[in-house]
Each structure stands twice: as structure tokens, then as C-alpha cells.
Subunit: 329 residues, 2 copies
């Protein structure tokens, strides 16, 4: 089997040389493990952070969401041929424990890859942030940073289903702005390279915002606090702006204490602390993926050998929507 390993903690932006692909024999399987042939791997921003702090063992196989087919099993509830989702990614074969996998029964008309994207941790992160953290209400005005990324795009689509009024997004290129306004139907979008985020947000959301879905931190958070209406809520899901600079993070927003005057709430969260909400999430979203209301936006790269390039490109913001690697048919 092929395994992508981390050679050293990246200094700043990860480079190809920080990783290596090695061929290893498939280890012996214990009775409580499954042998899984991975079909799709997910590459996500949070992985950059794990690399910094040693959350991933150097020279061990890297972790990440994956979907695969069971080749060997001693458990009748997950027989050979089952499709499972697990977190032993960045490799062609994995041996997760039975307790570490979730069986996937793809709904009619829904491609398997969607269960790593809009119906996977990506969409679930958006759902938890909007519903559980920010408590988005119908009629709320919303701002999403990094809106053309996987989580950002899912957030925009789910927020529309939840009845958000005006949805504004930021992104880093003209192509992404066009994607947001033309394909995802955002009411306004702006390029954060084009000028002050605070000024552009004020123009795009002249009535202010009720909810900010923060994928970025830094100047975007400062702009959002400035634009917030009284009793606004901020769901802080990540800080892409600082993933490559974790040891000396940028200063936080200078207007942080406006949260007092404005009665604002800023709440950070990890979606994997809310896994008991997955059934309600799937009941809510699967039918809307089936009927085409919600788009599946993904970029699929073929071949395990391209995983590192896919990851580096995703961190650079080269993709629109969810970035996946197809390892096998």
C-alpha cells in the first residue's frame, strides 16, 4: 500500500518536500479492525494546524477523512463490500477499528464523494456553525469569509435553506467572486485583495450583519465586528489566515471590545464535538442534495500521488469548492 508521510513540520506554507510517499506491506489485521481500500480522500485546512503541533506523528501515516470499501471484516454489521467513512486518510489502504468507521448508504442520486463534502464533515461544519453556534434565524443577514472554499460554499447554501436574507461573501479572485454571485447566488461578494475588508463589507452589507461565519480571522473578523448589528453572533470555525504562521499569530482585531457595546457573541467550535447532530443534519440536507437545490461543488484530483499537491493547492486557495483525491474507482 502507498502511504503519504510527513517528513518534517512545515516552516510556513507546506512544501512538497515536507512529505514523502512510501510503499509498505499491508499490516496484519486484528479481529476488531477492518481492511479498507480507500476510494476518496479529503484534504482540509485544519490538517495544516495538526502538522504544526505534532497532532500527526512524523513518519507515521497522516490522518484525514476518507471513504473506502471494506475488503476484509470479522464483523457482520460491516461486511465485506460495505462503504465506510473513517479518518485514516492519505493512504491507499487503512485498518480502522470497527468503532472508528461510519457506514455510508449513499442516497439515490447522490454520488459517494458528496459524503466527504457537502454531506461530510465539510457540510456538517457549516451546519453546526450556523445552527448550533450562531443560531441563524430566518431573515438574518450573513457574512461568510473564504466563501468560495469548501466550508464557505456549504455555509452559503445551507444558510439560504435556513432563510437567511442577505448573504455576502469574501474570496480571493475574480473567478471566485463570479462563482459566488452567479453560481451560488450570493447577494454580494468582494475580493479581499481589492481594498479594505471593512470598507468593502460596509458597502456590500449596508444594513449591517447579524451573523458572521468566520473561516479566516484577522482583518475579516475586525471588519465583521464593525459591521455587526446589536446582538450579532460570530461562529469561528477556523483561521486560514494564520495557518501558515501559527507560532506568531497576527494580532487580533483592535475593535474586539465593541462586543460589549453591541452585545455580540463570538464562539469557536470544532464540528467533531457535535457528532450526535449528524442524523438531524442528514435528514435536513440529503433531500436537498437529491433534488438539486444544493449543489455539489468539488474538485477531484486523481491518484494518491497527487494528494500533497491537492493539499498545498487547497491551502493556497486554488480550488473552488471541496478538494478531494480519488484513490480508486
Amino acid at each position: 500500500m502507498t502511504v503519504i508521510r510527513q517528513v518534517a513540520p512545515p516552516a510556513g506554507a507546506p512544501k512538497k518536500d515536507d512529505f514523502e510517499a512510501v510503499t509498505l506491506p499491508i499490516p496484519e489485521r486484528d479481529d476488531n479492525q477492518l481492511l479498507v481500500e480507500n476510494l476518496y480522500l479529503s484534504v482540509d485546512p485544519y490538517m495544516r494546524e495538526l502538522m504544526e503541533w505534532g497532532g500527526w506523528e512524523l513518519a507515521g501515516g497522516l490522518l484525514g477523512d476518507a471513504i473506502g470499501r471494506v475488503l476484509e471484516s470479522s464483523d457482520p454489521t460491516v461486511p465485506v463490500g460495505s462503504i465506510v467513512r473513517h479518518r485514516h486518510g492519505w493512504r491507499t489502504h487503512a485498518l480502522p477499528a470497527v468503532t472508528e468507521v461510519t457506514r455510508i448508504h449513499p442516497a439515490d442520486g447522490v454520488p459517494l464523494s458528496a459524503y466527504l463534502g457537502i454531506l461530510g464533515l465539510t457540510g456538517f461544519t457549516a451546519y453546526v456553525g450556523l445552527v448550533k453556534i450562531a443560531a441563524l434565524r430566518p431573515g438574518d443577514d450573513l457574512f461568510i469569509s473564504a466563501a468560495a472554499g469548501a466550508v464557505g460554499g456549504a455555509t452559503a447554501q445551507i444558510a439560504r435553506l435556513l432563510g437567511a436574507r442577505r448573504i455576502v461573501g469574501s474570496a480571493g479572485s475574480a473567478a471566485k467572486i463570479a462563482y459566488l454571485t452567479e453560481k451560488l447566488g450570493l447577494d454580494a461578494a468582494f475580493d479581499y485583495h481589492a481594498g479594505s475588508v471593512t470598507e468593502q463589507l460596509a458597502e456590500a452589507a449596508p444594513d449591517g450583519i447579524d451573523v458572521y461565519f468566520d473561516n479566516v480571522g484577522g482583518d475579516h473578523l475586525e471588519a465583521a465586528i464593525a459591521a455587526m448589528k446589536d446582538h450579532g453572533r460570530i461562529a469561528a470555525c477556523g483561521a486560514v489566515a494564520q495557518y501558515n504562521n501559527l507560532r506568531t499569530p497576527p494580532a487580533a482585531p483592535h475593535n474586539l471590545f465593541d462586543i460589549v457595546e453591541k452585545n455580540l457573541r463570538l464562539e469557536g467550535y470544532l464540528a467533531d464535538r457535535h457528532l450526535n447532530s449528524i442524523p438531524e443534519f442528514e435528514r435536513f440536507l440529503v433531500p436537498r442534495v437529491q433534488d438539486g437545490t444544493v449543489l455539489i461543488d468539488e474538485v477531484v484530483v486523481d491518484g494518491i500521488e497527487n494528494t500533497v499537491d491537492a493539499f498545498i493547492g487547497m491551502l493556497r486557495g486554488e480550488n473552488i469548492g471541496k478538494m478531494l483525491v480519488r484513490v480508486a474507482e
Copy 2:
């Protein structure tokens, strides 16, 4: 009547010359107004902020919580002789509208002044922050900054009633540290001048904290984020550290984005947005003031002419507990 007016917005820390006391005739009373002789005036940190941003009219009478006796009334529900709480402070006489006053019926054994302190907006701010914002639960470990101030001391006492486990406070002098540990019964307290707040808090709360009641901002907030357990909550009630430097606020904490990894909530609030909770607050706290479980800690300065000194001293942290001005018997 004597009225304290603001002459100019303070540059940095307010000085005595920024204010003047003038003698004016008592204005004509409308039928919907009461003529009130003020008995006690409150001086509070938030007033500094109002002075900066023009929330108070220059050369107009200043605002602030006050308790007074009704001298003239056309409303039978608030007859002459009633005791009322209102917000036309910093003057010997006031003409609030009937709708702007709350009638006070002091409970047996409770001094009138307590209704500006532990039973007034001060205690209510502590209660709202703990109960409505931070959702303090029995067994939670708590850190309070500026704990020897009026709101801080009320927070410590109310948190104990609510079942907090370990309560740690910071303050700015040895006398205040002694007051916190010996009189208010905090489990630990430290002087923030004595070294790194982060290190002192880590030592005082080695198991971490569940709730941080933030009266300060700045380095205290950074220290609290570092000490927080997973799913911790921060109630941000004010930022005394920056009240004298509002136009160029200090940088916010560098570890702000640890709120994501730790699933933390940071929520700002103004207690006056929660006034419908005053009845539950009084049901909860009045009996504990009556039976002596909760101390009334106040510094009372006599004479309207000393209001500015009391205010400036309070901002400098010279008082322990609530700072009040007695205007009349």
C-alpha cells in the same frame, strides 16, 4: 440645585478640570415628571466611555444611576415621599419622567444605598454575566479580573451562591488581595502588577477555569483564554484597561483563535439589555443580603462637590467595592 457638568471630553485619564459644578434654578416640572431630591449617586467605569463618545452632552447635566426622594408628583403611583431609582445623576435634584423611574421599597434590614450597589446595576451586571451570559454551573471554576471593584466583588459573591467551585481573582494592590481572600473568601487572588497575568493565573488555577468574568480585557483576556478548559465561557462586561485610551485601543489577545480548538464562547453584554430579569435577580439576592450571606461593600463619599473626585478615584482603582456619593440624608 447643583449640577456637575462635563466641560470637555477627557484626554486620557479624566482630570478635575474636565468638569464643573454649577448652581442652577430648578426647572419647571411637567405633569409627567417628578421632582426628585437625590440621596445617593453612583459613579461607574462605563461613564468614562460615555464621556469619550459624546454619550453625555457637554455642558448638560451628566447621567448616572441615582436614588432619590420624590418631592413633587402628579402621579398617584409615585406619591411624594416615594423612594425612586433613576438615571439622572450627578446633580442634587432631578426631573425624571415617571416612566424613567423604578420605585424602591427597601427590604427589612437592607440599607437604601445597597440598591445602587449589590442590589442595583452593579450586582445585576454580575448576575447577568454569570447566569445569562456565561451560564455558570455548580462546580465551575471561575476567574474574575478587577475582582475588588464593585462588579468584581459582586460577581465573586454571587458566583459562590451559584455553586462555583474555585474562585480566583486579580486586583491591583496588596490590600485588595487581602480583601478578596480574607473578606470575600476567594480561593486565590493575585496582584497583576506582580508579574505575568498568564503565569499567575496558571498558578492560581492549576486545573484551569470554566468561566472568566472579564472586567479588564487586554492581557487578562489573553491569560484567561490560555487557562480555559474546553467549552469555557467568557462574559465580557467591560474593558477598564482601555477606558482611558479608547481611541487607540490595545491589541486584542494573540491567542484569540484558541477559541476554536477549545470550543470557547466569548460574549459581550450590557446589563441594561436584560432589565426584564430584575425581578428574578431580586428574588434571588435580596434574602441573601438580608441574612448577611452577601456583604454590602461600599465606600460612601459625602457631598455632591466630591463627585468628581470619587469618579476619578474609582477609575484609578482607589476604592474597594462600590463607590457612592451621598448627596442628602
